[in-house]
Amino acid sequence: MAAFPIRDQAAIAGIGQSEYGRFLPDSQLKLGAKALKAALDDAGLTRADVDGLSIHLGWPLGVDYDRVAESYGLDVRWVSQTWLHGRFVTSAIQQAAMAVACGLANVVACVTAISFTRERQILGGPGDAEGTREDGGTHGESPPYGLTAPAGGAALGMQRYMALYGATSRELAAVPIAFRQHALKSPHAVMKEPLTLESHQSARMVVDPLRLYDCCLITDGAAVALVTSAERARDLKQRPVYVSGMQGLRSGRDEFIFAPRNLGINQQPVARWRPGERDLLAYRMAGIERKDINGLYTYDAFSPLVLFTLERFGFCGPGEAAKWVQNGRIGPGGELPMNTSGGLLSEAHVGGWNSILEIVRQLRGAAGERQIPNARHLQWGTAWGDAVVFRN
């Protein structure tokens, strides 16, 4: 077996969050400060211990790491910055893990703070510089034809998937219904009412075939995870949650961010793709097999992404996911619980970091009535192929 020197060398030692909600009175930076304070308290660390910053900031502030460090009075010696996209959650964690494992920093604060509802009309509109930039954004946006929001790309992917494999909107509904069931057990979740198949099917169509409840929440909130070396983490207050295996996001002409590899969107070739060894590096690095994963967490901005994630990592075959998720398989107590705090679809849109915090709670055995029994290995993984395997 290949040696993976980074296996279990970094750990999440503290987590914190602000409240999640809509039209919160606090500024984005204030929400972030609340989350950072909570995370430091959780870990038993002080602000002076933070010497690295891996930021994944969102709407509408942008990416200014220096503004974050200045606002919170940090003095950091290592920085990585991405901007608010599901595709960069893994990058932010991986870079933090590599930084502490390589000795570039002792404690990296991964900071996400979002105030979507402050300027919600911008998203997908004329002020959305991402969707309207040259050649459109990354999600297949095509501004001259009015495809200006990320949801459009997920719709293009799902529409073709349905045509090729016979999947239906009623089957897709199993995803948001399961996540709502999880959310009803989460004290932080914005959504408080059950979701039924009938209410899913009767909700308005947003961008065909995506109905209202196939699209994630637009909320405000912040989440912080503190990453440090495994050695340091063992001396701190909480049970460490180790970064055990990881792999990066995939890109190239075979890929479209909101479709399985080789589905035939944008310039993708058409083939029934199944993951091979190099697509499943994270398991090998962690020294486990896929069947050892006790729960799966993903960036569920749109419900089809959950199906595509299951196929990406081979939990089921190409075209099988819509059937596979039926009968409570990904819900509470299911065979493979997914996004157990409700995800972006039902807990809150904190850029996916709400699910990273949930992974940590689960692996500490502190997830209350959502607890996955004997949770040992949990995976963060997305439809675009990146993954982090965490263990306790």
């Binding site: 997908g124 509109g125 004329p126 459009g152 293009l156 065909d208 310039q267």
Partner: protein, 138 residues
Amino acid sequence: MSEYAKPLPRITPDTQPFWDALRERRLILPFCAECGRAHLPPGPVCPFCFSDRLAWRPAAGTGTISTWTVVHKAWFPAFADDVPYNVVQVELDEGPRLTASVVGMPNERLAVGLRVVIDFDHAAAEVTLPRFRPVEAA
């Protein structure tokens, strides 16, 4: 004509010949002189063999809908009066796919596999947008 409120494509040196030809009601594609393949969106090199030797040649203008959607939400004010409107991806017979829209038929007829042929929409003075019609209505 100058009051066109919808976004226009941002034209770069790589894409300029594509948009220039559309204004003359011609669809052309960058073909690789080394490997013979056409690609979209027009890029600086052949993405298949990395050759610099690209040559623009006419495309047939026919293709097949590979995916589609209908937008029901007015995200963008300039499109609000068009809701619900379609956006499609067309796999051209030369291979590359083009994002556009279909005109000349109701959205209910949209389907993966539908044969379409190009139409030209002189949307603004400086830009002609490719659109498609079902083959039998062309």
